[in-house]
């Protein structure tokens, strides 16, 4: 959201900047900055420009701030490297037979940074406060949270909800006794770091928490600065900042070619140095930041939502159109051409997730083929009889609109999609919208989305049809399949994620390119960082939208 305003102008500026940098990168020394970096390495300190500032402060109970939670707070559970669950504060949990009560035992040696022990009382308080705060933390499925004894807490749900684990991995636990006015500015947590100073709008300084119950962080002082991407890039070059989150365009200067996306343990493969100033490298992390085109699935029969938004599209509701597009789009071309190789092909939107149904993945031969796509169109009765280059069926031209919003790579992808469509005789108009102006057409036009929460419950948002939720971009294509809905109902009503897994995987039989083709998934955009060459992230997990880069902050190190 932050930079939406400037994006258009910025992209052109970015290319100019890149050109200038290439011209000027030779022979301009800045010793002071590099000297300062050397001193930081000596003292195990790090300056990083990662993530956006949580402007509202660091109170986890009154608002989520995504990845930052992990730096100063503990949660009950945490996603491990295989995207399964590990205990954080929790040591054990039980789900009642009726699946409405989750009982969690917590460890007895965790301390807040003010020296007090973390108790069940604090956990219950955090959840109750968050529920009533009316913020972006959605705890509507929770009826109440109560401390059973000093180290046991019970969550009572109002409906079975197997994805409750995700909530328990999201909320940082705050101390009940110290939670009040001003907590957001000087938070007290039980995580690996404690907050020392927050210069609003600029930086936060953290110091390692010596009392931390987990693995001690290797970086002893962590400063996070909040900079524009371009500015951050320059700051790393100067030596003021050691790690910055950048993008494929900036990283791609110097002609870095695409490499195979590797898993975390092959990380060295993903570190690229060519074309960069000495002492810097690019780290390229796999992500589930997935872009895809959502098709309106229903025919337009004059159906409307309560707000009067028209539902359905007569072209995209034809499965042959959707199949043909899925077969035509050259995903590898998108990864190489648009993302400069900093990405990976996606045909399911779920690559690398444990809940992916492997059978639904398209092989490299099954996409990027215009010939195959044309065959599919012909099979479906779409032919270009009037010779205008656009196929038609029953007198109707294959023409529809694709809406996209501002954001990295999005315009380029929409263009590429439309270009490819044109080659097989489908006329796709693209149109830039924002998340408010998109609403009147969201159910009757194709929409380019970026998804990837890294949680299985996202499948609900993507494909749940019956009793369509009040959020327009949840299943905006009005995909309806009773089998899929049944699977989702069963998955959410399961005792936990392990039990839910087969339902999550099962529904993909229909909700995939092999089934009803509700989407044309395109590519995952990797998370790209420019860092000083001695720095290592350790082994980070696959990065979801918004990032889990701080999940393993304790492993970050200089080597």
């Amino acid at each position: 959201m932050k930079n939406i305003f400037f994006k258009g102008l910025r992209m052109s500026a970015l290319y100019l900047l890149t050109a200038l940098l290439l011209l000027g990168s030779a022979g301009c020394g800045n010793q002071a900055g590099l000297q300062a970096r050397a001193e930081r390495i000596e003292r195990n300190e790090l300056v990083a420009a990662i993530g956006e500032e949580p402007e509202a402060g660091f109170d986890t109970a009154t608002g989520g701030h995504g990845a930052f939670t992990r730096v100063i707070f503990s949660t009950l559970f945490t996603r491990n490297k295989d995207l399964g669950w590990d205990n954080d504060l929790a040591v054990d949990y039980q789900v009642s037979a009726d699946r409405l009560a989750w009982t969690v035992k917590i460890r007895q040696d965790a301390k807040f940074t003010d020296g007090t022990l973390v108790t069940a009382e604090d956990v219950a308080y955090t959840f109750e406060t968050a529920k009533n705060a009316g913020t972006d933390i959605d705890l509507t499925m929770m009826k109440s949270a109560e401390a059973v004894d000093e180290y046991t807490v019970r969550f009572n749900l109002n409906r079975p909800y197997s994805a409750f684990m995700e909530k328990m991995a999201y909320l940082g636990i705050v101390p009940k006794h110290a939670h009040g006015q001003g907590f957001q500015d000087s938070p007290i947590g039980s995580g690996p770091y404690k907050l020392v100073q927050w210069d609003k709008g600029q930086q936060v300084i953290f110091e390692a928490n010596e009392d931390y119950y987990g693995v001690m962080p290797k970086i002893k002082k962590l400063t996070l600065v909040f900079l524009d991407t371009e500015t951050a890039y320059l700051a790393v070059r100067k030596g003021d900042v050691d790690v910055a989150q950048i993008n494929g365009v900036l990283a791609g200067r110097g002609g870095v070619q695409s490499t195979e996306a590797g898993t975390a343990d092959e990380l060295s493969k993903n570190e690229k140095q060519d074309g960069l100033a000495e002492g810097l490298k690019v780290i390229d992390l796999d992500s589930i930041e997935c872009y895809g085109v959502c098709f309106p699935m229903a025919a337009s029969e004059g159906r409307k939502t309560e707000d009067g938004v028209i539902i359905g599209n007569d072209v995209t509701s034809d499965i042959y159109i959707r199949k043909a597009l899925n077969a035509a789009v050259d995903r590898q071309g998108i990864v190489d051409g648009i993302m400069n190789g900093y990405g990976s092909v996606s045909t399911t939107g779920l690559e690398k997730m444990p809940w992916l149904n492997e059978k639904t993945v398209l092989s490299a031969e099954e996409y990027g083929s215009l010939a195959r796509a044309k065959e599919i169109l012909a099979e479906g009765g779409w032919q270009d009889k009037d010779g205008d280059g656009i196929v038609e069926k029953n007198g109707k031209n294959a023409k529809f609109k694709l809406l996209y919003t501002d954001g990295m790579y999005r315009q380029e992808m929409a263009l590429e999609f439309a270009e490819t469509a044109k080659k097989i005789g489908i006329d796709v108009d693209i149109e830039l919208k924002n998340w408010d102006t998109i609403l009147p057409e969201i159910h009757s036009c194709a929409v380019l989305y970026g998804f990837g929460s890294g949680e299985p419950s996202e499948l609900y948002n993507l494909y749940y049809g019956s009793g369509n939720s009040s959020i327009p971009w949840d299943n905006s294509g009005y995909y309806e399949n009773e089998f899929v809905d049944e699977c989702i109902d069963n998955a959410l009503a399961s005792a936990d994620e392990a039990e839910a897994l087969r339902y999550w995987q099962g529904l993909q039989e229909w909700a995939s390119a092999r089934g009803d083709v509700p989407y044309c998934w395109l590519a995952n955009a990797n998370h790209v960082y420019l860092t000083a060459s001695g720095f290592s992230f350790g082994e980070p997990v696959v990065q979801p939208h918004g990032g889990r880069i701080f999940d393993n902050v304790c492993e970050w190190s200089w080597n």
Partner: protein, 326 residues
């Protein structure tokens, strides 16, 4: 002078009355505009975060009082605003006045520096260009101004960072304080060093306006009858500049400079963005884009007062310098 003093008092009173009516109008208009904008504050707040259900969204709207009719909300907001409670910022979850106070202080320093810089530099360059009309110096200055006019401020900012911070290493890249240093160890010199680059960027971006106007006026004055007369009397070029030119040219320049408060404000938005300078500009954009009504209205009111003050000062200086106006 005394008779004039009484006139000035009336003049200021009249202006103040106008300010109050203007503020009232801004309150109503601002609220109506925010209401009419397609941005839904709840959507803007949770973003496209799919994990927030419709049920939770309704809860958020209720917490913020968004479920009430607009007129009722306006009255509630206006009532407490008049009593000094400007509401809570949705983005910062802090009282609006506190947010504005923090940000405005930082912006003010930045803008003051830039303002003086663009004024002095623009004025001097303008006079020089006018004096050497048509010559190389004039062409250079004009070229410089035209380039600056067509350069977006954020691009100029990135360029400044690249040259003066990265290549030459004279200044820090961004922020208003040194990175990773505790507040107790930050010296005044550190703060100044961080201020220079953004202030110069903002200042330089504002030079062309005043420079071009001053140049025009200079040419006009030099071609006037009284300068011709002065020349005939045998005054040297230096004397003409000192006795006639500067006085005549400074009046419009000063006015223009005070009137430029609004542009300064606009330029600051971009410059603060690039330098991650924690000022009001950035907050303004955020408040607008994310439908933070209390903060947006607060900033609108404050900036009206700010720009109004600039104009008032310009008027007062006019009256002072040129007795014919009154």
């Amino acid at each position: 002078m005394f008779a004039n003093g009484l006139g000035t008092k009336n003049f200021i009173l009249k202006k103040l009355f106008r300010l109050v009516t203007l503020l009232l109008a801004v309150c109503v208009l601002g609220f109506v505009l925010m209401e009419a904008s397609p941005i839904d504050p709840v959507t803007a707040y949770v973003g496209a975060d799919a994990s927030v259900s419709g049920e939770q969204r309704a809860l958020i709207a209720e917490k913020w009082g968004l479920d009430k009719p607009p007129v009722e909300r306006f009255c509630a907001w206006f009532g407490s605003m008049v009593q000094g409670d400007w509401g809570m910022s949705v983005i910062y979850r802090r009282p609006v006045l506190e947010v504005i106070g923090e940000k405005f202080a930082a912006s003010l320093l930045l803008m003051a520096f830039a303002w003086v810089l663009s004024g002095v530099l623009g004025f001097v360059l303008g006079i020089l260009a006018g004096l050497y009309e048509g010559r190389l110096l004039d062409r250079c200055v004009r070229g410089f101004c035209h380039i600056l006019m067509s350069t977006p401020a954020f691009w100029l900012g990135i360029l400044m960072i690249l040259v003066f911070a990265v290549w030459l290493g004279w200044f820090p890249v961004a922020l208003s304080v040194p990175i990773g240093v505790l507040a107790s160890e930050v010296s005044l010199w550190d703060r100044l060093l961080h201020l220079i680059l953004p202030a110069v960027t903002l200042g330089v971006a504002g030079i062309s306006n005043i420079c071009m106007h001053t140049r025009e006026k200079t040419v006009e004055v030099l071609n006037s009858d009284f300068v011709l007369f002065a020349k005939a009397r045998g005054e040297t070029r230096r004397e003409i500049v000192k006795n006639h030119l500067i006085k005549n040219v400074s009046l419009p320049a000063v006015t223009l400079q005070f009137l430029s408060f609004s542009e300064l404000f606009g330029g600051a938005v971009f410059v603060e963005q690039v330098f991650s300078y924690p000022g009001l500009g950035q907050a303004t954009v955020q408040a607008g884009l994310r439908g933070d009504l209390p903060l947006f209205m607060g900033i609108a009111l404050i900036s009206v007062v700010f720009v109004f003050t600039g104009n008032l000062i310009a008027d007062l200086i006019y009256r002072r310098v040129d007795p014919r106006i009154g």
